[in-house]
């Protein structure tokens, strides 16, 4: 398992919710990524997030948010603990990311020391439609650049296991 993870959350069938997958697609088809990092796209929620986070040292989550205070397409940066709640929390399990992380820690799972978040201010998170709204689509390039920078700033030496891999 790679120690550094970029987890791009979202559902590409719900308009701007597809931002995360769009960023992941660009990162995974561009030039090769450093060997300490993995970029995953996932449409998961609540507890299912824990499965992705356990065992990682550093994580960047790419997602959408709707604060209502910024123009669509604006890129927010948070670290865990600063997160403002958004629309798509309404998973039936309603387990918050901070709670999920704390839960994992208390059970002795190896959880990342820090989780950073890059979230685009979304316009439409209600319409079933493939494709981002224009302002959000325009933010993909910038997001890809910022993720690239984050990856370089979070270089971690992979600790070899007993097989020396």
């Amino acid at each position: 398992m790679k120690p550094v993870l970029v987890l791009c959350l979202g559902n590409e069938y719900i308009s701007d919710d597809g931002f995360g997958p769009a960023v992941a697609a660009r990162l995974n088809t561009g030039s090769e990524l450093p060997d300490y990092v993995e970029v995953l796209g996932a449409a998961v929620a609540g507890f299912n997030l824990l499965d992705h986070l356990a065992g990682r040292q550093r994580v960047l989550i790419v997602d959408t948010i709707r604060t209502g205070k910024s123009a669509p397409g604006f890129l927010h940066h948070f670290s865990l603990g600063e997160l403002a709640p958004t629309h798509h929390l309404t998973t039936s399990h309603q387990i918050s990311l901070p709670t999920a992380l704390e839960f994992g820690r208390r059970l002795g799972l190896a959880m990342p020391a820090a989780v950073d978040v890059l979230a685009v201010e979304a316009d439409d998170l209600e319409t079933l439609r493939e494709g981002l709204t224009p302002s959000v689509a325009e933010a993909v390039d910038q997001a890809v650049l910022e993720v690239g920078t984050w990856i370089l700033e979070n270089r971690v030496k992979e600790v070899p296991d007993n097989n020396g891999r």
Binding site: Y13, G20, A45, N48, P85, T90, T91, R129
Partner: protein, 494 residues
């Protein structure tokens, strides 16, 4: 009196809103509940091959994808007029029961648990899964994680992928199960049954041992005497995957039992001007407003409803827990008298968790699941199909019409929570009546009691597939009924 307009709000800030209108004497005049809803489903489906719906709809809901996968598959079976072979049905059922066991576990311990186990007056910092762990022990937490992983492993084996299964097709399944995979699933089933027993013990020791909890469950603010809906098999027992839809009345009498394809003869949808939410109701009784009782078409479809509508559970440990449930809450273990207390839904989930675990083990042991007879290729087309399953949070209906090539022309979906939109509104109003008083500042505890009323329904609003960070943002706004003026407001998580 001024007339106030509440718009459906084309762009909610992403949170639920509850508007409460309070009279001068402090009593509650009215309550309006709004949530953001996904729109454009039918348009989205048009032009797609119907078998794609099995894979697309799993991604619309990242929390109960298996329910959509199978409801869409059953609808697609009907569109093509094919009946899957028995081995395929067993595989679908095995995967689905494993999913249910995992999902109900997560809900009981992480969501309902905090209210049920810690109590509504526990401080907010404890009213989450961490508080539950503190009460029941770290070991319990580890067991919850393991239980979820088990459910996901079965879905991966039979459904081809964790979380979002892909193998159900019109006419059956795309993937066989090997003897090794079967052996693994038998072991998983046995572990699930042990976990189910552990959970029964938790209900015993932490909840039932405390009379205050039982009183809280049975207390009035969370009770609505509505009709109840759930799928039942040919023996009248709860079945998540297949059967007839049965509806029973507030007193327990049978109102209807019908084949899924006839659902439109029994269920209609009411609309209100202030919300995009639809309010399904029983057509033959009629819409009489947000009221309960035998003359109102309002019905519930929840784990509690399923127990009420049925004659029992198909497996022994679950049946024993079913009888204990009804004995404790109605003094009649047969279950003929329905339980209406909304909070009892959390316990009903445990009864279903037990059944799902036993069914997983039973189906895993069935020799037929390794058969290669798992698909019938369709040879003709009917052009219309309805697929109904029980999702963890209520009866789920997928309805598709296609052209002669199986391309979708019309689509309708009633998700689990939609069935409960009217009861949820009523529960919120009932809870609010109990705590909101004009001139009194709304406290965190009051907000929580209102929220608890609908948390018991395990609502799935907005069908989100990811979480950032995880609580439903809610705004409660209190208006003066005469002027409409906002006199009090409280937000949480937003």
């Amino acid at each position: 009196m001024k007339s106030i307009t509440i718009d459906p709000i084309t762009r909610l800030e992403g949170h639920g809103k509850i508007h409460l209108f309070v009279n001068d004497d402090g009593s509650l005049a009215n309550c309006y509940f709004q949530v953001p809803e996904l729109r454009g489903f039918e348009k989205f489906c048009q032009g797609r091959p119907v078998e794609e719906m099995c894979r697309i709809t799993t991604r619309i809901c990242g929390v109960c994808p298996d329910a959509h996968h199978l409801a869409a598959a059953k609808a697609a079976d009907a569109v093509y007029g094919v009946v899957p072979p028995p081995a395929a049905v067993k595989l679908r059922r095995l995967m689905y029961n494993a999913f249910f066991a995992g999902d109900h576990t997560t809900h009981f311990y992480a969501l309902g648990g905090p209210d049920f186990v810690c109590g509504p007056d526990a401080p907010p910092g404890e009213r989450n899964i961490l508080g539950v762990i503190a009460k029941v022990g770290i070991d319990a937490g580890k067991k919850v994680i393991a239980q979820r992983a088990r459910g996901q492993r079965v879905i991966e084996i039979i459904g081809g992928k964790k979380v979002h299964p892909v193998t159900a097709l019109p006419g059956g399944m795309a993937k066989r199960v090997t003897k090794e995979e079967q052996a693994e699933m038998i072991k998983i089933g046995a572990e699930m049954v042990e976990f189910a027993k552990f959970t029964i013990q938790i209900v015993n020791d932490v909840v039932l041992a405390n009379k205050a909890y039982v009183d809280m469950i049975l207390s009035d603010p969370y009770t609505h005497k509505t009709y109840n809906m759930g799928l039942v098999d040919e023996k009248g027992k709860v079945n998540f995957y297949d059967g007839k839809v049965r509806v029973t009345g507030p007193d327990g009498a049978k109102h209807a039992e019908y084949e899924p394809k006839n659902y439109l003869d029994y269920v209609a949808e009411h609309v209100e001007p202030y919300s995009y939410l639809k309010y399904p109701y029983l057509k033959k009784i009629g819409w009489k407003g947000f009221v309960d009782g035998v003359d109102s078409g309002v019905y519930k479809a929840t784990p509690l409803s399923r127990l009420n509508a049925s004659d029992g559970m198909a497996t022994p440990l679950a049946q024993a827990e079913y009888e204990r449930f009804y004995e404790t809450l109605t003094k009649d273990k047969s279950g003929k008298t329905p339980v209406h207390a909304t909070l009892a839904t959390h316990w009903a989930r445990v009864v279903e968790l037990v059944y799902a675990s036993e069914a997983t083990l039973e189906l895993a042991r069935d020799e037929e699941i390794t058969s290669d007879q798992i698909r019938i290729i369709p040879e003709g087309i009917v052009g219309e199909g309805v697929g109904i399953v029980e999702a963890p949070r209520g009866t789920l209906t997928h309805h598709y019409k296609t052209d002669k090539n199986g391309i979708v022309t019309e689509a309708n979906l009633i998700v689990g929570t939609t069935n409960n939109n009217a009861p949820i509104t009523m529960s919120i109003k009932r809870a609010a009546e109990g705590v909101i008083k004009k001139g009194v500042q709304i406290t965190e505890g009051m907000l929580n009691r209102i929220e608890m009323a609908f948390r018991a329904y395990d609502p799935c609003f907005g069908c989100a597939t990811h979480s950032l960070p995880g609580q439903m943002p809610l705004e409660v706004i209190v208006h003066d009924t005469t002027t409409g003026e906002v006199i009090n407001a409280q937000r949480r998580y937003c």
